[in-house]
């Protein structure tokens, strides 16, 4: 067994853990075993991927086959795993961040009735996600895709007694479904076009999809009309899973799930599956000249859109949810300008700092007994200093402050976009790049708006719904008035804070530590498409000078200005002079209202789609009740009616019956006689 074969086990260890945790649900005493089993399985998966990383050399992908699955006619789908550098990066992210979040969740979810069920779902999610990133054919990828969708549904609706959680879970699943429809159609079309769904075989005799796409690029294989449509269908799936416009509406509602779920699934891993999928299938996407620009456009617009909304939200987790949408937009922008290194690197760093942010928000939530409204929390830094610092680390990374991981990854994307736009004299891409820069400003602003509001300023806070009812704090104007409470917010235990420290370290340092490694990894991945403008290594890019600086240095300057400017804005309005913010809010009431209501997108969908569907459903219900049931009842009623009609002839008089018999016999005999005459 070569080193590579060990990768076979990566999905199945969490699967086994899921089964064991499922068994632990049976009895309350067994519950305590759920978390260790799950955490150990994820750590084991991480160790395997980390330990055997040498077996995966850049530019030398391998496939290993776990077992055969479907062999019907031309369709050959196996549980095969494609291990190449891109996979390895994704595996690190998924299993690493997954392990940390699981450890955090062991402390966060303590005392919950569904403790074992939670870890079962998390393990199942890990199985599906690792299958997704390791899949060597589209059908298995789709299996993982659907699996993570399922686990997302299960975990969002984890507190199924809450109707809002159940509704959010349904919404997530249904919106994802719409995207998945596109993905499925794309897979079908791919199979029809290329005759196979395997991505890469390394065998010239039976090439995989990526190899065939490369052949189309070279000109050895004729192009077909399907080539133009496949990317659009596939990107629909990516948009659904990664919450881009117009399928972004599920992610903010998904915050109904427990915070570790939000951190793991809706920040670090599941939502990045769309980015991974496009990165993996880049050769297919480049066959259509309109596909990637569409991706980039949607990504940039989504980024701006979400950032605007985030700037007005008052719920901690909702701000981070919109922030996630916005950052995913960045990733799509990156991959749209063919900077797959940039996109994947941003994915990598985003996992760290977004998970960190969500988990610290979880800390705050836990401490404040489920209070999430920013307007009711202020000045927590004295009570929760560690959380304050951890969240600061995450916020710095998110804002792209120089030195943090976020800075490096965002810079990569922006620079590539600007470079591509300027060197190809394509004003559209340049516009997108400018939009992205504006979005960066907004990102810094809203991130620090949250941090300043929650941790800085006068210390007054209102405990949340889980708290025992106390009289609320009276609003005092300014000054550090410490109000005595029965139950004060406090720091969490080390089980929860430990992983946060690791994540914070990553958020701050992963930038300069991992950048070269990721670049080599992704650059040598099997999906490296010809003509990719990977960041600094763009082949033959003309030297472009802006204000005397080349593009990258210019970008660095712009990033610094933008991030610090955003922080300064936030500091002014939300720390030093909060009343100014309130006055502006009153002055621009309508704008604020539009932003707060998420540009009324949900209401639009409701009026456009949900209500007509409901009416259609009612119509069909009526049709079903009246027409179909009516028909069936009619068929049932006919014998009864016939019976009732005949019933009146049974009057109980024997002689009546006798009369009938006699007359009948006579008539029949008459017929017989005359017929046989």
């Amino acid at each position: 067994m070569s080193k590579l074969d060990a990768f076979k086990f990566i999905p199945w260890i969490p699967a086994l853990a899921a089964l064991i945790c499922g068994a632990c649900c049976w009895h309350r005493k067994l519950r305590v075993y759920a978390a260790p089993v799950s955490i150990l399985s994820i750590v084991a998966a991480f160790l395997i991927s980390f330990g055997f990383r040498d077996a995966v050399a850049a530019g030398n992908p391998n496939t290993i086959n776990a077992f055969s699955w479907i062999h019907i006619g031309n369709l050959n789908v196996d549980f095969g795993y494609l291990i190449d550098p891109l996979t390895l990066v994704m595996l690190f992210v998924v299993t690493g961040v997954g392990a940390l979040v699981a450890i955090y969740a062991a402390g966060y979810m303590a005392g919950d009735r569904g403790y074992a069920r939670f870890f079962a779902y998390v393990s199942l999610f890990l199985f599906a996600m690792t299958t997704l990133v390791m899949a060597d054919n589209l059908v298995l990828l789709y299996l993982g895709w659907e699996g993570v969708g399922l686990c997302s549904y299960l975990l969002i609706g984890f507190n199924f007694q809450k109707p809002s959680a159940v509704a959010a879970a349904k919404k997530a699943f249904i919106v994802n479904r719409i995207g998945d429809l596109g993905f499925a159609l794309g897979i079908f079309l791919t199979f029809q076009r290329y005759g196979t769904v395997t991505l890469w075989t390394g065998d010239a005799g039976s090439p995989g999809v990526l190899e065939l796409a490369a052949q189309v690029h070279d000109g050895t294989l004729a192009a077909a009309p399907a080539d133009l449509w496949i990317p659009f269908l596939l990107m629909l799936g990516a948009f659904g899973k990664s919450a881009q416009i117009p399928l972004h509406v599920w992610l903010p509602d998904a915050m109904e799930g427990p915070t570790p779920v939000s951190a793991l699934i809706h920040a670090a891993t599941m939502v990045t599956a769309g980015v991974y999928m496009i990165a993996r299938l880049l050769p297919v996407f480049t066959l259509c000249p309109y596909a990637l620009p569409t991706v980039a456009t949607v990504g940039a617009i989504t980024a701006l859109f979400a950032a605007l909304i985030a700037a007005s939200q008052n719920d901690l987790k909702k701000v981070f949810a919109y922030s996630t949408i916005s950052q995913l937009g960045y990733m799509f922008l990156g991959i749209g300008v063919l900077s797959s290194v940039g996109a994947v690197f941003h994915l990598f760093t985003h996992a760290f700092f977004k998970a960190l942010l969500f988990l610290t928000a979880g800390n705050v939530m836990h401490a404040m007994a489920d209070q999430l409204d920013m307007r009711r929390i202020s000045g927590l830094r004295r009570k929760m200093p560690l959380t304050c610092l951890l969240m600061l680390a995450g916020c710095l990374a998110l804002a792209g402050v120089p030195g943090t991981a976020g800075f490096f990854s965002k810079d990569l994307i922006l620079a590539s976009a600007l470079q591509k736009g300027l060197s190809q004299h394509d004003w559209r891409i340049t516009t997108l790049a400018v939009l992205a820069i504006v979005t960066a400003l907004l990102t810094a602003y809203y991130t620090f708006r949250l941090w300043f509001r929650v941790f800085m300023g006068p210390a007054k806070y209102e405990m949340g719904p889980k708290h025992a009812p106390q009289e609320p704090v009276d609003e005092s104007s300014d000054g550090d008035i410490r109000v005595e409470h029965y139950h004060e917010p406090h720091e969490m235990n080390w089980l929860m804070n430990g992983p946060l420290l690791v994540l914070a370290a990553g958020a701050l340092t992963a930038g300069f530590l991992c950048k070269e490694w990721v670049t080599t990894m992704v650059g040598g991945a099997v999906s490296a498409a010809p003509g990719s403008a990977d960041g600094h290594a763009a082949a033959g890019a003309a030297e472009i000078l802006i204000f005397g600086l080349d593009v990258h240095s210019f970008m660095i300057v712009v990033s610094v200005v933008v991030s610090l400017g955003g922080i300064a804005l936030a500091a002014y309005f939300h720390w030093l002079n909060r009343s100014a913010a309130d006055r502006i809010a009153v002055r621009f009431r309508d704008v604020v209202r539009a932003l707060q209501n998420k540009f009324f997108v949900d209401e639009l969908y409701d009026a456009l789609l949900v209500r007509p569907l409901r009416m259609l459903g009612s119509l069909f219900y009526i049709v079903d009740r009246l027409l179909i049931e009516g028909l069936v009842s009619l068929v049932g009623a006919l014998p009864r009616l016939a019976g009732m009609a005949v019933q009146t002839s049974q009057r109980g008089f024997l002689q009546g019956y006798g009369l009938g018999m006699a007359v009948g016999t006579g008539v029949v005999l008459l017929f017989v006689i005359y017929l046989t005459k």
Partner: protein, 109 residues
Amino acid sequence: MPTPFEPLQDAALSHFLMTGAVLFALGLAGFLCRRNLIIMFLSTELMFQGVAISLVAFSRLHGNDTGQTFVIFVLTIAAAEAALALGLVVLLFRRKRTLDCEAWAAMKG
């Protein structure tokens, strides 16, 4: 008279059948329109008579005695039936003090 071993050759058979048929029809009419239970049963006995005459006529037609044997069985059954039916009639009369057949129309739809 024709010898008894020779089957009836002439059309006199039809007359005997006619008599049997008339008796049967009269019995049927009586059964269907009289309300007194006893007269209803008596009408059925009348129907038996008609049938017996027809059977014996046919046995004479064919020259064998199966018809007459059958009539013996019919007589047996008629006797048994009459006994039981009349027993029932007495019981019914004791229950309702009336012999009107319309009093026992409870099994109506």
